[in-house]
Subunit: 707 residues, 2 copies
Amino acid sequence: MDSRIDKIFNPSSIAIIGASERQETVGYAVLNNLLTMGFEGEVYPINPKRDTILGHKAFPTLSSVNQKIDLAVIATPAQTVPDLIRECGKLGIQSAIIITSGFAEIGEDGAKLQAEIEQLRIEYKMRIIGPNCLGVINPWIGLNASFAGKMPSPGKVGFISQSGALCTSILDWAISNNVGFSNFVSIGSMMDIEFADLIDYFNDDEKTESIILYVESIKKPEEFIKAARRFTSRRPIFAIKSGRFEEGSKAAASHTGALAGSDDVYDAALEKAGIIRVKRVKDLINVAQSLSMQDIPQGNRLCILTNAGGPGVIATDAVIERGGRLATLTDKTMESLNQALPSFWSHGNPVDVLGDARAERYEKAIDICIQDENTDALMIIFTPQAMSEPVQTSRAVSRIAKRYKKPIFTSWMGAEYVEEGVKMLLKYGIPSYQTPEQAIDAFSFMYKYLQLNDNLKKGEAEGEVTAIKVSAETIKTYKDLIESIKKEGKRDFLNEVETKSLMEEYKIPTTKTKLATTEAEAAQIAESIGYPVVLKIQSPQILHKTDAGGVMLSLKNAEQVQEAFRKIVQNAKEYNSEASIEGVTVQKMVRLSGGVELLIGLKKDPVWGPAIVFGSGGVNVELLQDTAISLLPINKFFASHLIEKTKVFKLLQGYRGQEGANLDYLRDILVNFAQLVIDFPEIAEIDINPLLIKGNEAIALDARIIV
Amino acid sequence: MDSRIDKIFNPSSIAIIGASERQETVGYAVLNNLLTMGFEGEVYPINPKRDTILGHKAFPTLSSVNQKIDLAVIATPAQTVPDLIRECGKLGIQSAIIITSGFAEIGEDGAKLQAEIEQLRIEYKMRIIGPNCLGVINPWIGLNASFAGKMPSPGKVGFISQSGALCTSILDWAISNNVGFSNFVSIGSMMDIEFADLIDYFNDDEKTESIILYVESIKKPEEFIKAARRFTSRRPIFAIKSGRFEEGSKAAASHTGALAGSDDVYDAALEKAGIIRVKRVKDLINVAQSLSMQDIPQGNRLCILTNAGGPGVIATDAVIERGGRLATLTDKTMESLNQALPSFWSHGNPVDVLGDARAERYEKAIDICIQDENTDALMIIFTPQAMSEPVQTSRAVSRIAKRYKKPIFTSWMGAEYVEEGVKMLLKYGIPSYQTPEQAIDAFSFMYKYLQLNDNLKKGEAEGEVTAIKVSAETIKTYKDLIESIKKEGKRDFLNEVETKSLMEEYKIPTTKTKLATTEAEAAQIAESIGYPVVLKIQSPQILHKTDAGGVMLSLKNAEQVQEAFRKIVQNAKEYNSEASIEGVTVQKMVRLSGGVELLIGLKKDPVWGPAIVFGSGGVNVELLQDTAISLLPINKFFASHLIEKTKVFKLLQGYRGQEGANLDYLRDILVNFAQLVIDFPEIAEIDINPLLIKGNEAIALDARIIV
């Protein structure tokens, strides 16, 4: 644990620079929060113009305090901050929160100031949150080092947000709903401390049993994934990432580029980190409530209790839609319910305790169902009816919840009529939602974490990647080739012969291809490899050969080959009169009748780096958009997982009597492809499409490597 | 307008049978509601044991009232109801609500009672809501003829629910959120009056500007669609239909059956009715709020105003995800905003008025944006910040909302801090949601209605179906054939030759197919139609020929044909030793290189009747699940719409240089297929899969007709 970060959350003494008595200032708000919300350490207001502030002795400068200061909170104008940081450094204060805005986010001048601060920070080995943030809150010690005027209850959820506005909204909401936090952080511009640092810190903080993130951008992606995965291997993280559709319609040179947007790569990155992504603020709020109040369910089998049929059906729909299951109640449970309930009860799950159920009947039924060994969690629905008792029913639920560890989710459907009942539930730490679907959202997000963590653990247990090792010499040959292509500047891709030979080095099977520079040579090559053959244009200026009329298939004899040669050259010239034509490649026409067409691609993300894209290939590529993405590296387990996420997996398993593919072979191809990508960071994009596979045979019919 | 239904909602005088002073009874609750919530007509409590009830003169029987009674509300035990209905009938009371439960829903005895009532109802020409319902509420005249103890405000949303529990929940919620209703109906068991009747009634009721439905089942499907469409041609209906996953894993004989579940047919039915289906109770609540408070937006271009960047991005994601658009602000708007806002404003949509925005700045910006001609609706986001003013900002919004018709949606993000502000918004009829996404849900459901209604109007304008007319004689021939097949009982499907000849009558192109009973005959037929050919088994016991090894493709000469004949017969015998083999069919092997494989099917739904299923065919059928469904009849416009809803539409348009299909020809095929289905109600299921199409050529390679 970095003690400098710990001093931000658990300081014994705090200096607040810019402390003020003027109520509209941030300096007032922070000081007031530090003084009035239960913090028991020392607080030193720093303000050269005043002797006392809010009844506390004020100091003109940091150095005039003459006491140990753990944390400096800075709320003075931007241009004053560098000197203050220097002063902190000289005094040995190594922890700071810079609330002030007006740095990199406002343009060049601000960015210069920020760079200056960062340099001082490094020089004095400080750790800083901000600038441009709200501050932090640690409810466990009554610390509110922020200008948000509220204090949530101490709890087990850590919250980190890149949006200050969302912080204040969520805080307000959390307090009204009795949601407790272990720490609450507005992370600001992340000049120094970013998500990875805080997640690492929370990992060592046993109070924090789960984390909620609002993410707009990540600065240290590798560290982020490592820190998050360390945390998620034991406890869940849920994140919302906004800006999902920013990219819009940027042109991409490859299929892969068009298929995999940066948001899809974010999905892959969060998955690798073991983080469950939620898409709506309401989902974040809903899952936070459940996380703050109870344990994670141990499985996806839900027992629904209700006093009305309709909402029971609605809840059932929601469970099934989200991949959960209705628990099959044990015979013992059924017998007990038969004895406890009127004979008209639903005799199954959902357990309909009927419209005239008072609290007592609810309590009996819940007590029976919560002990059912086939049930991982309970969902209790309450609707206002003539005889129903919202508050007493809540009390009954809370009595049972105290006795068992099994998670309970509730929906008291209504408003004024159920208000007191809902308050009672929240007071006793039982999550409650306006509609059954929202309760089931929270439940399903929680078990999705379980499933993901399980899967990642299996993959991680498999250990190292077992890809092919290509000799350093061979790698160097191709690196030299790429360098020379770049130097020459005529083209930005490997030609077909180069592409295929590089792929062969990595055991990705291709069709043998030779370059012909004359009609006669083309016919000669064709005779030697056997008919039918395929001819393709080779020109540094032509990447998309089909578009240029530069591909001819199924050529069955020398005459056709010669004619195709002429035609292709002519088409290419018409397509681009300035294209220099190096020749026409000749290769065997491969027909793997009934084979499955796949796409394997490389997508380079500016944040997350290289990602492998796998899915349906051929004509189906853009039609189906059936792809899955994984960050690198991948071992064979994760290769399997990638394959299983696509629809084409059905075909690969053998489908309606068709022969499938040797999946182990396909996994090898994927792992070796990933190795190629890792060995050649020079490569910008790769498309193998289609890779045809059937049984033990596979062949890449077309491929593109862009450098 | 049916005046008997009108008297349920607008009675001058009401008899409440079973009126009581015992507070726990339904009879007490209804009477109390009728007396205390503003109803100004006459109320006659009927109870033979009391002279007065709640200070009102009580009558021993209906006939002892001796005054005109418009509406009878019955809350006495089930067995008393038939006599009461008879008495109503004799007295000329033609409108009743039966609140009592204990009829068809409890089993046979109850069903008998209910049948008796229904007969009396018909005899006396009465209209009845219920039994087993909560009752009805018409807030405009203070009428609460239900046992729900609350009265919502008068408004413009009609609400009809099949779940009483949902009624009470929504009512409670609506009152807290200032959502007004034109009428509020718990429809119960729908013995008589069902959705169609009420929608028709609301159609003539100008107060009702939109309808919200909670549907579990529909009793009169044709009437429902007609009534709903009449309404939706002018005003929207939104519905939630529960029980989406009931069907589970029933086996289906055809692809079509497996692809199209009954819930998908519900989707198609609601679409045909012009109804927008929502999937979550929260969506229903959210859209109800907007419907009750303002007009439908005239398009999908939204302008977002916010005082924080993060929530603006979240809202943008939500708009794009739901098919809306961010409005491109006019130059005039941009100029005005530049003058009205600090220079750091976002200079685009979302319009970020910045964190220090007070109410005044919000008001200026809103006033500018609402006048923007490229904007169909406004979404205003408020987050709690140091200087922000939740209540004053709400007041500013309400001032502007009064002056313009353009819809405004809001999200005041938080709880306690924004509570008063939200109340103010709701008071002035401005919908407000906890999160931006929920506001945008409501917005998008509303313009989805616009889009659907637009589309239906275009289709309806095209008018009659122009399918092929097959002669009565031909139809009779096939009806006789089907009847004889059913009588014979050996098989439940048409054989290949019969299937293809019937399809040819309806201009659905197939391959000419002849039956051979010997090897020699097979070879002879093959010689006459030309190679390559396909051979298929014909046996009344074998429907799935491929599974039986009963299909051989690409036979190139007489020798291969004869061998295939022997092999097929042998396979069929091994597959089913008791199968009687009528012979082997011979047809030309069709290769439409690059053609698109389609599926056209008939699904018969127990509620909605015949539906046409269209989508990707061949090996892709179950892999892609790429199908669209429409109820019959369909004209060419709706056939187009059906085609456009599938992914395979991309291929049909011509895709990446491949030739597409003549879509007009495909529309003809679909319309003629639909005619076949309509002409032959005897047919249970049809699968045409694949139908191969390319340019002007199409051919059904395989088809199955089950009778």
